[in-house]
Each structure stands twice: as structure tokens, then as C-alpha cells.
């Protein structure tokens, strides 16, 4: 099937405005009989379910946690971008658009990204109206901070808990609809299959995680807002339950998977401490704003960091990228850390870590405070103490988190950090309407591939999730549903529902019956290691080919030796995990295939064969300026290409030097 991104005609700046006002409308009476299933209650799902219910559609929303408020959006720390230009520092819709396209290394669609930038200010307004307590200045105005990959301050935040506050805003709005009976919320429900009838998405099969019962749900449209799939790598900053199952089932039912190998490895996470490690914790990018990254200038220097004098430190980001310094985009910062550690300059027990040091900025803030308080002869120690207070107010929760995990006090000595898997730019392929190639099936938020190209800029995922849910889908879904008003609700006795439920049942029975000698985690860890070693921060053709073979072997072993205890008619977390890991194994294979097919470096995708003399990523625009949309066919895949055209931006080799 050829793919069509359905980008509206016209000038970049006018596309959305014009298109929005020409999308057919659905009248209120018809909306009441149109049912929409929303899988996921994170920023994308909660915003979509709420906004669609407010418009009058009948909405059901699903999440696997015990409450919609626990979706992993809750963990986002640093902030959310918006082109408000409150700081008067030259920001604009165009600049946010430009930064995002460039940050994504020219692998995203111009029209989508422009729309995102255009909508961004409305998001902040909406959240403020809901009572989201963003940080404010003394004058009562909203405060901003800087994030990587930009030279303006456009990031709105609520201490180090921005995602929590945004999600709680969306969750409150969602619960309001639930309270009014306009949304039916099904928590502790996991979607395990999509139902497609005559080529259109018409429902899902969900498992009630408490009783184990399989339920059939009909919908005129199905929205997948199920988050990212970073847990393919076993260790990531994602939550334990974050999974690919919803989008993977959709993929196997015909939806194309866009750019599966585009993974973001975040430079500042707490390093692995041992084999028991179950997840990794992010230290927000906003810290790079106020911290300086360094390693000892001498390899193997084991001195206490505070005893290493300035001249014996290598602030390698500032050295290599003087224009952006510590604020280079994530992919660049991660590779630079790996380069130093691989070369033997790493610190800590594992030697797989670098320092993130706040002393310099604590002194700077301390001096400002001392001046404010009129302390003219303050000692360095007093200044430092004042500075610590400022840093505490900005990042207190992150510093506490660091101390809890490592047992070290980051106010006294620098943090040890190392890159970790954080975000997946890839996801279900969608058109401008956020619809997959399967009519009636949509993907929003991190679950789609749309706006971040090969590398996402910090504070842009929250923006995208909320843009998709609050301001895009309520309009674009009309393009489809306006043609569905004559479709009566399809009975869930329809054979497509019966078949889908039987397929799920069979699979659960199979998982429980293997009764082998290895646990689900055993397979997940093995998969994670292959993915991290061969499809992680650096990739090459040979390694990827090996990885594909190794992953196929893991899959075979899984289906003959996994042990899943318990039964299917009860709360059974191991059974849930088994299904997710089985899907990760399949997806891992596709990710390696995609990485192998893209013989260029771009953004987070670094092919060792394609680098400049200085070791920077080298794009190949002539051959790879496309979105890879993979079509599934019984564990074989075929690639469709969506060519990317840049009419408004001059594409150039990305430079942050």
C-alpha cells in the first residue's frame, strides 16, 4: 500500500489554520453515538480522552496501572517548551520549529513540526487554566529555564516535577469527565489485541488485570496513546510497566512502524550499580543548565573529584562544542560521554561514568544572593551555602533522588552520571491527522513516530503529547468520523471480535503452558544486553546482523523455555510481563533491521561507518532523507519510504561547535 502523509497544501505558516477550518464537522447529536476508545492515560491519552468527551463523543479510556494518574508521563522532570517569547530573547514559532527540525537532524516532517510549534503557546495557557502550578517569578509571571539544543529560554517547569503537574492537570480534567459520566475509565486493563473489520479499526480486546477476564470493546475509532518502548533495552528510564504491546499488536494488524531504530539515549542518568539493577533514573537535562560536565584529564585518575584541581579537569563538552557547551543536544552529549569512558577517562567503580558538577554555579548563585542580601564581605563558604539553597529550590527533589539511590550527597561532591535509554522517537507511522495507515486507528504521544526525527530535543515530548491530545486530534478525528456517522455500533459478537479474543486466549494459554526453566526477566535481560551492545549508542552493520540472529535465538528459546507461574483468571503480574517481553523480542529484531537498513548516522542513530573525521555523526541526505515505514508480514518486513522534503529550512550538517 503506498503511503500518503496527507499534508495540506499551502504555505507552511497557513497549513494548519486553513486545514483546521475546512475539516468536516460532526454535529453534536451524531457525536453522542460515536464511540472512541483511547488506550493510555498519559499526557496524550488523558488530554485526548478529555477533549473528545468535552466535544460530546462517547469515550472509553484504558490504562494498565491502578489509576490514570500513574501513567509514566508523571515522571517527566525538566519541563515543557512553548514559543511564548516571554523572555524577549528572540524566540518565535519559527525558531522553535527550526530548532526542532535541526535537533531531529532533519528527519522529521516540516508541516507536523510547524504545527507543533504553533500550538505550543496554547498548551501553557490550557495548563495554567487547569491550575497547574508552574514556577513563577516574584512579579507573578511564568518562569522559564534553558534546555539543550537551543539558545533561548522557552522551557516552562514546575521544579523537577513538570510531568507530574501536567499529568495531574490532565488527570483532573479526565476525572471530571468520568464523574460526569462522559468517559468510562478502565484502569488495570491491558489492551492485548486490535479488532479490524473490513480494513477499519473497530475495537480492542482488553484483559481485566484483576480478574483476568478478556473483554471486547467496540469503537468507531481507536486511539493508541500507549507511550514509548524504551524497555526493549531492559534498563531504561521508563517505568517497569512501559511497553510496546499496544502498538505492536496494531503493527501486526497492518499499521506501519515508523523509524523503529530511532532511540534516544539520555546523557545524564544515574549509572548502573550492579546486576540487580531493575531500572535507571534520569537526572533531568535542566541540570546541565547549572552543571558542568567533566572527567579527569588523566586517564585512570582515582582521586576524590573535589581534590582534582581545575587545570587537571577536562570539560570535554565545552572543549569540543564551544558554542553550545554543556547544552548540546542529547545524542551529542551521550556519545561524547561514551567516547571519554571508552578511552579510559571514566570515573567511579565501574569507570562508566562522568561528573556533573554544580559547584561553579552554586558559587555564581551564591554571589548573587549575597549581593541581594547586602553581604559585602561574605566568605566563600557562606557564598557556597547561599548558592546551595538556590540550587535546592530549583532541583531539590532531583538531588534527593540522587542521594537516595547512590547514598552520596550531590551538594558536596559532583554527581556521577552516564547515558541511558530514555525515549523512542520511532513509533507507529501516522499521517498529518495522526491516523495510521489503518483507517480509524490513530497513534498519539510517544507511541507515534511523528515530530522528533532522529533525536528529540528536551522538553518537547510533553509538548507533543499535549498538543496531540488537546489540540490536534479533536479537530483531525472529524475528517474520519464525519464519514462514519451512519455506522451503527458493531456488536461484539461479530466474528472479528470472537477471532481476536480467541487469539489472545490461545497466546495466554501457550505462555502459561510452556512451564520451562527460565524466568521472563531472564529473557528480558538477555534481549536488553544484545540491544544495548549492538543497537545502542553506536551501531555497525556486522553487529546488527549478529544481533538479529541472536534475537531470533532468544525468541525461540523464550517460546520453549519460559516459565510463567499462576493462572490467567487472576491478578498475575508475571503473565503480563511475559506478554510484553514476547513483543519486545519481536520489536527488537525490527529495530535492528531498521538500523541496518539506514546506513547513515543521524541524530541518536550513530552508524560507525558513517562519521566525520572528528567523530561526529555524518548524515547522507542524498540516500536517506526519508521516513522508514515498515510493513509487517508474518515476522518478515518490507520497508516503505516516505520522502522528506524541506522547503522552508535549508538543510545543513548539524553543528553545535
Amino acid at each position: 500500500m503506498p503511503i500518503n502523509s496527507n499534508i495540506p497544501e499551502g504555505q507552511l505558516e497557513d497549513k494548519w489554520t486553513k486545514y483546521k477550518s475546512t475539516i468536516p464537522l460532526v454535529n453534536p447529536a451524531n457525536k453522542r453515538s460515536l464511540e472512541i476508545l483511547v488506550v493510555g492515560s498519559g499526557l496524550a491519552g488523558a488530554a485526548a480522552a478529555t477533549s473528545l468527551a468535552e466535544l460530546g463523543y462517547k469515550v472509553k479510556c484504558f490504562c494498565f496501572q491502578d489509576s490514570p494518574r500513574r501513567a509514566h508521563s508523571i515522571a517527566a522532570q525538566g519541563g515543557i517548551n512553548a514559543a511564548k517569547n516571554y523572555q524577549n530573547d528572540g524566540d518565535s514559532v519559527y525558531r522553535l520549529f527550526y530548532d526542532t527540525i535541526k535537533g531531529g537532524d532533519y528527519r522529521a516532517r516540516e508541516a507536523n513540526v510547524y504545527r507543533l510549534a504553533e500550538i505550543s503557546p496554547n498548551i501553557i495557557d490550557q495548563c495554567v487554566a487547569q491550575g497547574v502550578p508552574f514556577a513563577r517569578e516574584y512579579g507573578g509571571m511564568l518562569s522559564n529555564r534553558s534546555f539543550g539544543g537551543t539558545q533561548v529560554q522557552r522551557t516552562f517547569y514546575a521544579a523537577g516535577q513538570t510531568g507530574q503537574q501536567l499529568l495531574l492537570g490532565a488527570y483532573s480534567a479526565l476525572e471530571r469527565q468520568v464523574g460526569m459520566g462522559s468517559v468510562e475509565m478502565l484502569s488495570r486493563h491491558e489492551m492485548l489485541e486490535v479488532v479490524v473489520i473490513e480494513g477499519k479499526a473497530r475495537g480492542i480486546i482488553a484483559r481485566n488485570l484483576i480478574t483476568g477476564e478478556l473483554e471486547r470493546h467496540f469503537g468507531h475509532a481507536v486511539l493508541l496513546c500507549s507511550g514509548g518502548y524504551g524497555n526493549v533495552f531492559y534498563l531504561s528510564t521508563n517505568a517497569m510497566g512501559s511497553n510496546a504491546t499496544a502498538i505492536w499488536k496494531a503493527h501486526k494488524k497492518g499499521a506501519y512502524f515508523g523509524n523503529p531504530c530511532f532511540t534516544q539515549i539520555h546523557p545524564t542518568c544515574i549509572p548502573v550499580s550492579g546486576d540487580h539493577q531493575s531500572k535507571l533514573t534520569l537526572m533531568s537535562e535542566s541540570l546541565r543548565n547549572d552543571g558542568r560536565i567533566w572527567v579527569p584529564a588523566k586517564a585512570g585518575d582515582t582521586r576524590n573529584p573535589i581534590d582534582i584541581p581545575e587545570i587537571e579537569r577536562d570539560y570535554y563538552l565545552e572543549r569540543r562544542y564551544p558554542a553550545f557547551g554543556n547544552l548540546v543536544p542529547r545524542d551529542v552529549a551521550s556519545r561524547a560521554a561514551k567516547e571519554r569512558c571508552d578511552a579510559g577517562f571514566g570515573v567511579g567503580n565501574s569507570k562508566m561514568a562522568v561528573y556533573l558538577d554544580f559547584k561553579f554555579n552554586m558559587m555564581r548563585y551564591g554571589k548573587v544572593e549575597a549581593t541581594k542580601q547586602g553581604l559585602t564581605n561574605a566568605q566563600d563558604s557562606e557564598i557556597l551555602a547561599l548558592g546551595k539553597e538556590v540550587v535546592k529550590e530549583k532541583y531539590g527533589n532531583l538531588f534527593d533522588m540522587y542521594q537516595q539511590i547512590t547514598g552520596e550527597n550531590p551538594y558536596e561532591s559532583p554527581m556521577r552520571i552516564y547515558p541511558a535509554v530514555h525515549y523512542t522517537m520511532g513509533g507507529l507511522w501516522v499521517d498529518y491527522n495522526l491516523m495510521t495507515n489503518v483507517p480509524g486507528m490513530y497513534a498519539l504521544g510517544e507511541a507515534n513516530f511523528s515530530d522528533h526525527g532522529a533525536n528529540r530535543l528536551g522538553a518537547s515530548a510533553l509538548m507533543q503529547g499535549l498538543a496531540d491530545g488537546y489540540f490536534v486530534i479533536p479537530y483531525t478525528i472529524g475528517a474520519y468520523l464525519s464519514k462514519e456517522i451512519a455506522t451503527k455500533a458493531i456488536s461484539t459478537d461479530h466474528e472479528a471480535f470472537v477471532d481476536a479474543e480467541n487469539a489472545v486466549k490461545e497466546r495466554l494459554t501457550k505462555l502459561l503452558s510452556i512451564n520451562g526453566n527460565k524466568t521472563v526477566d531472564h529473557f528480558h535481560k538477555r534481549l536488553g544486553k544484545v540491544m544495548w551492545d549492538k543497537c545502542g549508542m553506536a551501531r555497525n552493520a556486522e553487529g546488527l546482523k549478529e544481533a538479529i540472529i541472536e534475537i531470533q535465538a532468544i525468541r525461540a528459546d523464550f517460546w520453549s523455555h519460559v516459565r510463567v507461574p499462576g493462572a490467567s483468571d487472576e491478578l498475575n503480574p508475571e503473565l503480563e510481563k511475559a506478554g510484553r517481553v514476547a513483543d519486545f523480542i519481536e520489536l527488537g529484531e525490527l529495530m535492528c533491521m531498521d538500523a541496518l537498513a539506514r546506513n547513515e548516522s543521524c541524530g541518536g542513530h550513530f552508524r560507525e561507518e558513517s562519521q566525520t573525521e572528528e567523530g561526529e555523526a555524518k548524515r547522507d541526505d542524498e540516500n536517506y532523507s526519508y521516513v522508514a515505514a515498515w510493513e509487517y508480514n508474518n515476522m518478515n518486513w518490507q520497508m516503505q519510504k516516505e520522502d522528506l522534503k524541506f522547503d522552508n529550512i535549508k538543510i545543513a550538517q548539524r553543528s553545535y561547535k
Binding site: 478529555t50 508523571i74 495554567v128 514556577a135 507530574q164 471530571r176 531493575s278
Partner: protein, 254 residues
């Protein structure tokens, strides 16, 4: 490894809501002080599965103290022996070799046990649904800076909004009262100009739902705030009581 620990665990096992539960003893060996408490549970569960036993069901997701899903009552304290952290943030360096650790679920009538350490906290969602919001539909907002909010108000709203909805306050309270949770949301919105139009209606609706869910009365013992992983202050309860009184007076006048 040196410094690693052997521990005895007494863990509440209960098949489902209808059956009775009991404490069961388990031993774990060679636990590293760098492990989190939940990673220690992972080790135990891997061992149980390999032996053909039923692993212990417990709630968790983010494992970084923000989603509010983890919920273990450890040695008599919700979220364990350390202040201001969640169960998932508790690390084994807080224990010593040879310790016996008792782990139970949250106990409250309004939080029925689903299985082992997993409870149903749906009552919290229903309380929020009754009034824990500002009634503003998508698309109705004015510019975020047209309404200046004094920094101390924004900060106070944020401090209350930091609640993660874990339910430790209920578990800590001898009456299983949900006052701290409810007052945190009421006060977050009461501190903001956007929250004023519905202020009185909100507090009444939320308190009514709280009572309907079967939470106990507040007798001001303060155990909730002492055990709250986000240090939500008792001031919130006092402020909510004032608003509640006022709201009822106003409705008498109506």
C-alpha cells in the same frame, strides 16, 4: 560480596479479596546494600518462580518515587523506616544483616486487598472526580501571564500538588482517614486564583465523596503527614477544615 546481607522476610500473602490472608516467612540471601527494596523483592520473586512457587504480587511502576503506585507497609510503617521517601526509593543500606522485615499491604476498609500486597485505591480517583478539578474545557484558556500569581502562592500550590496519591496517609492513620490526601488537592486549588470560583463547591463535594467511600474521621493525630513520602503538611487539613466550615455556612444562608 562483603557487606551483603541475609534477611528474613515475613510477607502478607492473600490469594484474593474474598480469602483470608496470613504472614509467610521467606529467606533472602546475599542482598547488596545498593539494591532498592523492590529489587530485593525481584530477587525473592525470581527465586520463588524458579522453585515453582507463586511470586508475591505488589504494585509498582516508576520506581523513582513519583507515580505513587508502590505501597508496602514495612515494619509497621507505610513506605518503611525512612522519612520522606516511597517504598521504591528505600534502599537495602537502611537494613542490616540478619534483620527480620515484616511487609504488609495498606490496611483500610476503603482500600480492599486485591492480592498479597496489592490493594484497590480507586476511591481516590472517585474523590478527585467529585470535585478535584477546575471546570475548564480545552480551548477556553486566556494567556498564561494575564493572571499574575504571587510566587509564594504558586509555591504553596505546588507544595500541596506534590501529593502522589499513594495512600500512605490512610495506611498510617488509625482511623484510616483520607483527610491529608483530600486536603492537599483542595488547598492546591484554593491557593490559585483559577481555583476560586468553585472553591466552596469543591470542598463540599470532595469531602462528601470521601465520607461515602468509607474513610474514617480525622482526629488530628498527625500520623499521616509524618509518614507522607512527599511531606504534605498538616496545615492543609486545617485550611480545608476552615473552607469546609465556611462552605457549609454559606449553604445555610442560601
Amino acid at each position: 560480596m562483603s557487606g551483603n546481607m541475609n534477611l528474613t522476610l515475613k510477607i502478607w500473602r492473600q490469594k484474593n479479596t474474598k480469602t483470608k490472608g496470613t504472614l509467610v516467612d521467606y529467606k533472602v540471601k546475599d542482598i547488596s546494600p545498593d539494591m532498592s527494596f523492590l529489587e530485593m523483592f525481584d530477587v525473592l520473586n525470581e527465586d520463588l518462580i524458579t522453585k515453582g512457587d507463586d511470586p508475591i504480587a505488589f504494585d509498582h511502576d516508576c520506581r523513582e518515587g513519583i507515580c505513587g503506585m508502590c505501597s508496602m507497609h514495612i515494619n509497621g510503617r507505610p513506605h518503611g523506616p525512612k522519612d520522606a521517601i516511597t517504598t521504591c526509593q528505600l534502599h537495602m543500606r537502611s537494613f542490616s544483616d540478619g534483620d527480620t522485615i515484616v511487609v504488609e499491604p495498606w490496611r483500610a476498609n476503603a482500600f480492599p486487598i486485591i492480592k498479597d500486597l496489592t490493594v484497590d485505591r480507586g476511591a481516590f480517583d472517585r474523590i478527585i472526580g467529585a470535585g478535584g478539578f477546575i471546570s475548564v474545557n480545552t480551548g477556553n484558556a486566556q494567556d498564561g501571564n494575564t493572571l499574575p500569581i504571587a510566587k509564594h502562592d504558586a509555591d504553596a500550590a505546588f507544595a500541596a500538588a506534590a501529593c502522589i496519591g499513594c495512600g500512605a496517609c490512610v495506611a498510617a492513620c488509625k482511623n484510616a482517614s483520607a483527610m491529608l490526601f483530600v486536603s492537599a488537592k483542595v488547598n492546591q486549588l484554593a491557593h490559585l486564583p483559577q481555583g476560586q470560583p468553585e472553591r466552596m463547591k469543591r470542598v463540599k463535594a470532595m469531602v462528601a465523596q470521601m465520607d461515602k467511600e468509607g474513610f474514617g474521621a480525622c482526629t488530628n493525630t498527625g500520623a499521616c503527614s509524618a509518614e507522607c513520602p512527599k511531606e504534605i503538611s498538616l496545615v492543609n487539613i486545617a485550611a480545608m477544615n476552615r473552607d469546609y466550615l465556611k462552605a457549609n455556612l454559606i449553604s445555610l444562608e442560601d
